[in-house]
């Protein structure tokens, strides 16, 4: 009976139980350093003032759901797109490569000119819905989120998963690095957004309210990382104080799900796209 190198005393059952006990150990190790909550440390920070933001532009013209958008580097134009099965990110330094996430549960790095697959990333247990590249100063990593409720951080060169986080209770629709690169935020169908610190290797904040029961589809940070803008399936946008964990503003205007959201490169505004066929610029 050919088994791929079964070592002595090793069975499928024993490997599975070792995996389970390692998961427990991982939780224990993380818990040991959980000496305080982020919002407690943030008590000494000045509270934010009132925010006045409203729709400054409404861009009509799409004939169908807006799913994905981004700002151009010239800071004035907005690019939006409609239906696609994949999430695509351009690496800003070597624009010959594309990083993609797929419904087949993997991510892939491609060379555009040759069409060659340079690296593939396996580890998600279900469709990968989103990804974000680390800010260039922090090296060659990216974070992905999937239908398996996991957020995973990857080394682009080795293809290896460096860290994995499984605290959400449903699909993760959006992930975005904190501007310093030391943390990332996620938005999920479990109606919460969460902040994960990469050096503490754990979730450090949850942004939620009992009154928010619809999934968060898209998240982005303001330039300093103090604010987290999140678009939801209940047509609203919530603005969160990242440090204190509280909501500072709720924005109405869209007439259907908010599907995508991005802060402009100079941080003066953000744009939201919706199933109501419009994009709104908020400032």
């Amino acid at each position: 009976m050919a088994t791929d190198g079964l070592h002595e005393n090793e069975t499928l059952a024993s490997l599975k139980s070792e995996a389970e006990s390692l998961k427990g150990k991982l939780e224990e190790e993380r818990a040991k350093l959980h000496d305080v909550e982020l919002h407690q440390v943030a008590e000494r920070v000045e509270a934010l003032g009132q925010f006045v933001m409203k729709t400054r532009r409404t861009l009509k013209g799409h004939g169908n759901k807006v799913l994905c958008m981004d700002w151009c580097k010239d800071k004035r134009r907005i690019v939006s797109s409609s239906q696609d099965g994949k999430v695509i990110v351009w690496d800003s330094f070597t624009t010959n490569k594309i990083l993609t996430a797929s419904g087949d549960g993997t991510c892939a790095l491609w060379d555009v000119e040759s069409g060659q697959l340079l690296q593939s990333f396996h580890g998600h247990g279900a469709d990968v819905l989103c990804l974000d590249l680390a800010p260039s100063e922090t090296g060659n990593t990216f974070v992905s989120g999937g239908c398996d409720k996991k957020a995973m951080v990857w080394d682009m060169r080795s293809g290896q998963c460096i860290q994995a986080f499984e605290t959400h209770e449903s699909d993760i629709n959006s992930v975005r690095y904190y501007p310093s690169g030391d943390a990332f935020a996620s938005g999920s169908d479990d109606a919460t957004c969460r902040l994960y610190d990469l050096r503490a290797d754990r979730e450090v904040a949850i942004y939620s309210k009992e009154s928010i029961i619809f999934g968060a589809s898209s998240v982005d940070f303001s330039l300093s990382g103090r604010l987290l803008f999140a678009g939801y399936n209940d047509y609203t946008i919530n603005v969160w104080d990242v440090l204190k964990g509280s909501r500072v503003s709720i924005l109405f205007g869209h007439e259907n799900r908010v599907s995508t959201l991005r802060v402009s490169p100079d941080g003066t505004a953000f744009c939201s796209g919706s199933w109501d066929h419009t994009l709104r610029v908020w400032a």
Binding site: L26, L33, H34, D35, S180, A200
Partner: protein
């Protein structure tokens, strides 16, 4: 007698999962108090250059309406 046939790939997969978890469990971590303090520091340092926190005068903000009147 039924029993699940243990294929080579099941074992391989399970072994890889254990290796990955062992690696993740062993990484260096810092305390939340330290990590949080660093997040705070970054926010505070960057706050002055965050237009959403500081605000920019309506005159230079391309998204705000220009007032129709001018002072002569």
């Amino acid at each position: 007698m039924s029993g699940k046939v243990t294929t080579g790939s099941d074992i391989g997969q399970a072994r890889r999962a254990v290796e990955q978890l062992r690696m993740e469990a062993g990484i260096d971590r810092v305390k939340v108090s330290k990590a949080a303090a660093d997040l705070l520091q970054f926010c505070t340092e960057q706050a002055k250059s965050d237009p959403f926190l500081v605000g920019i005068p309506a005159a230079t903000n391309p998204f705000k309406e220009k007032k129709p009147c001018a002072i002569l």
